[in-house]
């Protein structure tokens, strides 16, 4: 997709200041894509990664690669950069060979120079690259330098690491320009509340003190010189508001709604929803049947969302940590009735986001504030409370599984039905103002837009049916997805989408079926696996586990595996844990084995896998968004607990390199298996099956009571 839209070498590779520059539309939010891309270009140009720069991602200049999501960056941008660099290398070698009048084979590319071996004549690579024909197209068949030439990748510190540890790395939150005001939105108690009025005396007093108050319907913000002044002003204004809260947020049992709401059931075949296929019948008398649920969970970035915007009367410039600057630009233009070329978006790193968090909403809010005060740049930040209560969450999910077993205890038929709200809350333009409708402030402004009404994601392995299809060759599978709308909370894309709940369900059932069959969890899985790479990760995990001691008395070990989207990186993972007498789950050890094709940046891969494990563990053990009629009640880190250092086990990663296979992203490969392996380890330790996330002490105790009652 990236190359189709941007077919020229210069779309991806350039030279600036005597250095090679990689252009990309993918943004770095800690997943180290810029490190990987620099290394890919460095490999093809026989350079050190430190000699390659990665250009700022800015609309108009960067290739439009849509969203940075779905673990696609290494595949899309990485592939484009590798082929563009290889094409460029071939082109400069051919040109110099002609110029020197020597065979191409006599030229050597090393250390940034192209040298003729016979005569020692040489030219700098960057100089040669600068002379490339601007119309040169990327050759999809360009010869790539094989692993033997490039050498085994070694770990270098990622870009920006030193600046990060010295506090010098610049985040969006740190931008500081002459004449800038700090802004804070004043959000309603909940998204459906309407502003009836504000105490005029308070506004007067604020304005007398140099604070600007911006109002558009129920969208409200303040701007002040200084961050603390803005925070205080926002607090004062919030207390002066009179809100009509209407009927409030629906206090319903979301798991029950997901299960029972009458919505279209879409058969999923080969990873694709097939509306016209015959609907799989419900299994009669299954040998195994269970429902698995996940609550609403939040991205919960450590640094609340922020954006800087300025409007000079004709042009709007927005600095944002959005994952999709081109789609966001389109939706902002549509919202403000501006032509595309009047708005420029520049990506500046924010804190890690794990999907679509408040970044886009904050960018649009900053734009609204900036437009109200031409000529004044504003740095708008959300508070912790704004982020917790107003980011778009990962949808709650319900996965119903039933299986029929044969005489040997093998799965003869597997049935799964996955239900959830949409994962597509990103402000992508579309019919019925679909882009603007997904920007929070448009729900609040005068003439508010109604909530976005999602259509089911019909893409292969999309949304709620991501990893719904088992990677195991069962004789019969019957899979269904259901998009349940009109639920209480706003939702969007979070790391892994539906794969978390689906892998949790499938891998829990595999564990249960193996136990029923009296088989070990490795051997049982092997009965259904044929792909050598699937088998390899499982074998490596088993081999590694043989080298370490068994879990201590009272502790348990669980395993799980998955191939992300059934087409990306493969992970097999084990967790050792114990349940203490307060019913808390204490993680003791984890091993992650992964195959993500050709390894480019081993340390970056390990970091992503470990990070994914930790986030998966946090989802499994702690996280659930709560609310009541009046408001979201998960408003800070006390009311929305997450994993902390006191429950971090040693995590080992084992990488299986496949030098001849394409490189695949790993950012979303480990969280699903982490959740499932934890559930399976709890069973090994206690005999209890936990099927409702998160596995809090209350959930453990409830499962124990349930088991006693059965």
């Amino acid at each position: 997709m990236s190359l189709e839209k941007h077919p020229l070498v210069r779309d991806w590779i350039g030279v600036s200041g005597g250095r090679v520059v990689v252009h990309t539309g993918k943004v770095d939010f800690g997943q180290r894509i810029s490190t990987a891309l620099a290394r890919i270009a460095a490999e093809e140009f026989a350079l050190s990664p430190e000699d390659v720069d990665v250009a700022e991602v800015r609309t108009g200049a960067a290739p439009d690669e849509g969203m940075t999501s779905g673990s696609n960056s290494v595949v899309q941008s990485g592939n484009a950069v590798r082929l563009a660099a290889a094409t460029a290398r071939a082109a400069v070698l051919a040109r110099l060979a002609a110029e020197f009048d020597v065979p191409t084979d006599d030229l050597e590319l090393a250390d940034g120079f192209i040298t003729h071996r016979g005569s020692n004549r040489k030219t700098a690579l960057t100089e040669a690259l600068a002379g490339i024909d601007p119309a040169l197209a990327v050759d999809p068949g360009a010869r790539l330098r094989p692993r033997e030439e490039v050498g085994v990748p070694v770990s270098h510190p990622p870009r920006g690491m030193r600046a990060m540890v010295e506090g010098r790395y610049t985040y969006l939150h740190d931008l500081d320009v002459e004449g800038m005001l700090h802004a804070r939105p004043v959000h309603p108690p909940h998204i459906a509340a309407r502003l009836r009025g504000i105490d005029a005396a308070v506004i007067e007093k604020l304005e007398a003190g140099g604070v600007r108050v911006i109002r558009d319907g129920s969208f409200l913000a303040v701007a002040a010189p200084g961050e603390w002044a803005a925070i205080q002003a926002a607090g004062r204004l919030a207390r002066a508001c009179d809100w009509d809260c209407g009927p409030g947020l629906p206090e319903i049992d979301v798991a029950a709604a997901l299960r029972d709401n009458p919505v279209e059931r879409l058969p999923v075949i080969g990873g694709l929803p097939e509306p016209d296929a015959a609907l799989p019948p419900a299994p009669d008398a299954p040998d195994l049947e269970a429902a698995f649920t996940r609550p609403y969970q939040m991205h919960g970035a450590l640094g609340p969302s922020a954006a800087m915007a300025s409007w000079d009367g004709g042009k709007l410039t927005i600095h944002t940590h959005s994952q999709g600057i081109y789609p966001l630009r389109e939706s902002i233009c549509e919202s403000l009735d501006l032509p595309l070329d009047a708005v420029e978006l520049v990506h500046v790193p924010g804190s890690g986001c794990y999907g679509h968090n408040g970044a886009d909403d904050a960018a649009f809010e900053a734009a609204l504030v900036a437009c109200a005060m031409p000529g004044t740049p504003v740095l708008l930040k959300w508070t912790r409370e704004d982020e917790h209560a107003f980011e778009p969450y990962a949808t709650a999910m319900h996965v119903h599984v039933a299986a029929r077993l044969d005489g040997r205890g093998d799965v003869a038929a597997y049935y799964a039905e996955a239900s959830g709200d949409t994962h597509r809350g990103r402000p992508r333009a579309g019919p019925d103002r679909a882009g603007p409708a997904r920007l929070l402030a448009n729900r609040l402004r005068a003439d508010p837009l109604p909530p976005y009404r999602a259509e089911p994601n019909m893409n292969r392995e999309g949304g709620n049916h991501r990893n719904l299809t088992p990677g195991y060759a069962f004789p019969e599978t019957r899979l269904v997805k259901r998009l349940v709308r009109d639920l209480p909370l706003r939702t969007s894309a979070m790391r892994c989408l539906g794969a978390v709940a689906n892998v949790f369900a499938l891998e829990s059932v595999m564990d249960e079926a193996a136990a029923k069959a009296g088989a070990d969890p490795f051997g049982y899985r092997r009965r259904y696996l044929t792909d050598p790479r699937d088998l390899a990760v499982l074998d490596r995990l088993e081999a590694r586990l043989r080298e370490i001691p068994d879990p201590a008395e009272g502790a348990g070990r669980g395993i799980a595996m998955a191939r992300y989207k059934n087409q990306m990186a493969r992970v097999a993972l084990s967790v050792d844990l114990a349940v203490n007498d307060r019913a808390e789950i204490i993680l003791q050890h984890a091993i992650i084995v992964a195959d993500s094709g050709r390894i480019v940046d081993p340390d970056g891969i390990a970091a992503q896998l470990e990070g994914g494990f930790v986030q998966g563990a946090s989802w499994a053990l702690y996280e659930a968004v709560t609310w009541d009629r009046d408001a979201i009640t998960s408003r800070d880190w006390d009311s929305y607990p997450v994993i902390r250092f006191d429950n971090i086990p040693p995590v080992e990663t084992v990488l299986v390199d496949q030098p001849d296979c394409p490189s695949l992203g790993v950012g979303e490969a480990s969280p699903g298996p982490a959740v499932a392996a934890i559930a399976n380890a709890v069973h090994a330790a206690t005999g209890l099956r936990l099927r409702r996330m998160p596995f809090t002490p209350e959930a453990v105790m409830e499962a124990a009571l349930q088991a006693d009652a059965d």
Binding site: R384, W637, D638, F645
Partner: protein, 156 residues
Amino acid sequence: MTLALRINGADREIASDPETPLIHVLRDELKLKGAKLGCGLEQCGACAVLVDGEVTLSCATPAAVFAGREITTIEALGDTPEGARVQEAFVAASAAQCGYCTPGLVVAVTALLQRDPAPSREAAMAALTPHLCRCGSHPRVLRAVEIAAGQGQGQQ
């Protein structure tokens, strides 16, 4: 009377209202942007600085409270041998992803090692529990502690 604070070894006259939380004085007035605002509620550790060598959250306590104390921010931490060693260890373990939590963690690990030069894994976990990281760099941060403490290569 204006407030005077001792920050990174220098005496600074502070123009901000003394009731302003320290972090805003650091970031806004003094342009020391290394400490991060994560919550403003003393729940996440992103804003940690050293005050008389102790890890201190700067996001909620008024600046005036720190008069007469020695404040060290991440910007000056590398000037001490312990701080520099901890920073090197973080680089060696590549113990950051987005890095938003990192300045606070570097400060906390430096204070920990000053108190306990060879902390056990459990002691390190306990000392860092006030600090959140949402990217899951925890295992690497714990490795960095081992490296900084000279405990092997930080292998586990």
